[in-house]
Amino acid sequence: MGQGVLISLEGISKVYQDKVVVQDLSFTIHAGEFFTILGPSGCGKSTILKLISGLEHPEEGRLILDQEDITHLAAEKRPINTVFQSYALFPHMTVADNVAFGLKVKGVPKQEIKSRVLEALDIVRLSHLASRKPAELSGGQQQRVAIARAVVNRPKLLLLDESLSALDYKLRQEMQIELKQLQRKLGITFVYVTHDQEEALSMSDRILLMREGQIQQIGSPREIYETPNSLFSAGFIGEMNQFDGVILERKQARIYIAELMGQQCQIESTHDFAVGDQIHVLLRPEDLRLQEVPDTTKETGFVGHITERNYKGKTLDSVITLENGNQLLASEFFNEDDPDFDYAIDQKVSIDWVHGWEVVLPYEG
């Protein structure tokens, strides 16, 4: 996957009415990649797609597609197509005419248009609805028409703006798989925008995490999930338990002794910390290990009481309140040996984790 660079954005900035929406953005997308732009609402995701498709032009910076500068190329001349957030199907045209539109305006011969429209509708499995109007289709079907209308042009780059967010949960899961398969089949580079972190993790080759018009982190889903580079990244992708602490001692290259809430413990980090540095230690709920302990024991280490427990089907999610009042979330998988395990409210537990899986970040204030 992803050999050559297909498109690169170099120092792109976009200003709307004195408001900087995208600021000095630089990144590259590789050919054949499923690239996801992830970020909270209003962070500039759609704006980036518009800049790539040419519907908006940047105040600063350059766009290079296949070694060609397309910064000033009009949208209608770019080999890039978009599946819009609202689908934007032409309501007065049938499904087939919608799909044919891009080829028709480019003057492709009629016979060829017919066969390519048929082929595109086959790919999204909608040939039987070709003569319907968009208003007579379900949300999922409209979505697939929008995809067919874009891919029929064989673009170098397909942009999808929150294309699944309007669908219900089940259809959405199906469409996620379908999109992924489609992308492999067509070999087209996809740039997918979403604010749903789960969707981003499961579909992407690489994720660009955005925050207020700037890049927060860019990397594979695993890199972003396992080694977030900031509290924002960590918090945006999945749940995180956060402890604040201080480095007490450096043992080896990557091993430190730190104080966390009055307890000393060993942590691992690739960051270069000095003794006395303040740190954040982050732990995923599923990385925590709980151990029931009798109420009477004077346990050392982290102890707390179960204050809430939620059955989640595959996991048991528990809220633990520590002695100092802090709350933690633990998520444990049921295992075969003990499919009925459960905690009583107020059960005293000691907390541990898989060492080495903690995320350590410099203090952000």
Binding site: N81, A88, T94, G102, A150
Partner: protein, 286 residues
């Protein structure tokens, strides 16, 4: 609930009797009159006759009718060519600015149209604004005969009827989803193609409503032709008016009115059928 129902009944009764008294009854009277016999001494005889309709098919009447039709049609096309770009341009502004611009467009039309027709007389006349300006710049050396011509009638019709084109066009263009234009651009359509394939088809209801709202009244605007047209440029309204007021052949005037209504209804029907047919099938359906 009771009180609400009472007011609803009153409101419907008022509107209903207003429509009945001033629209249904007069039209029925016109229809009846058209089937009566002409009386050279009075208005009509209470005697069934289709003579008035025979008169309608008189070639002399048709010549006037066609010319009137042509002038109204031209006025309609000119209104459309002015109003479409104008309404499209209006829609580019923010909704607040749009409201003001639309308001400014409509304000002059609060003046009675008869008064405005008189104003045109002063603009187009021998010593009017146009001629004196052209003379002053030296483009011409003797005044042009602008008044009492087909040009003057069409000018007057366009001026008086323009807002009836702008309003429905603006209403349908304003509703146009801008995302559709972005999508069309994204798919490679240039400005002209976007206009032809997206904007025009989607604003067709507005275009047609505007055309009807200009064309139908234009045929009947006798005072425009009276003031600006002279004897050769009569509108259908002039013929009807003459029959009722001067010649006092009421059955003939009524028959002309009814024929006009039937013709318009026929045109609407044909358009409706055509639109239905076009909408049914797509070009690339499989």
């Amino acid at each position: 609930m009771k009180v609400k129902g009472f007011f609803a009944v009153i409101a419907i009764a008022i509107v209903g009797s207003w429509l009945g008294l001033f629209i249904a009854v007069p039209n029925v009277l016109v229809l009846i009159t058209s089937f009566l016999e002409n009386d050279p001494q009075g208005f009509f005889h209470l005697q069934f006759s289709t003579a008035a309709y025979h008169q309608v098919f008189d070639p002399l009447f048709w010549r006037v009718f066609l010319h009137s039709f042509e002038m109204s049609f031209k006025a309609m096309i000119i209104c459309l060519t002015i109003a479409f770009p104008f309404s499209y341009w209006l829609c580019q502004f923010s909704s607040k600015v749009r409201g003001w611009l639309l308001f400014l467009t409509i304000v002059p039309f609060w003046t009675n149209s008869l008064v405005r027709a008189y104003a045109i007389k002063f603009i187009l006349g021998k010593k009017g604004l146009v001629n004196s300006t052209l003379l002053f710049i030296g483009v011409i050396d003797k005044p042009l005969k602008l008044l009492y011509s087909e040009f003057a009638v069409i000018f007057g019709l366009v001026y008086v009827l323009l807002p009836f084109m702008i309003l429905p066009l603006y209403a349908s263009l304003e509703k146009l989803d801008k995302n559709l234009l972005s999508a069309a651009r994204d798919l490679g359509a240039n400005g002209l193609q976007r206009m032809w394939y997206i904007v025009i088809p989607l604003s067709m209801p507005g275009i047609l409503a505007g055309c009807l709202a200009v064309f139908l009244p234009a045929m009947g605007m006798f005072y425009i032709s009276d003031l600006l047209g002279g004897a050769k440029n009569l509108l259908l309204g002039n013929l009807i008016k003459t029959e009722f007021l001067s010649t006092q052949n009421w059955p003939y005037g009524a028959a002309m009115s009814i024929s006009l209504i039937v013709l318009m209804a026929g045109m609407l029907f044909i358009y409706y059928k055509a639109a239905q047919h076009v909408q049914k099938r797509g070009e690339f359906d499989v």
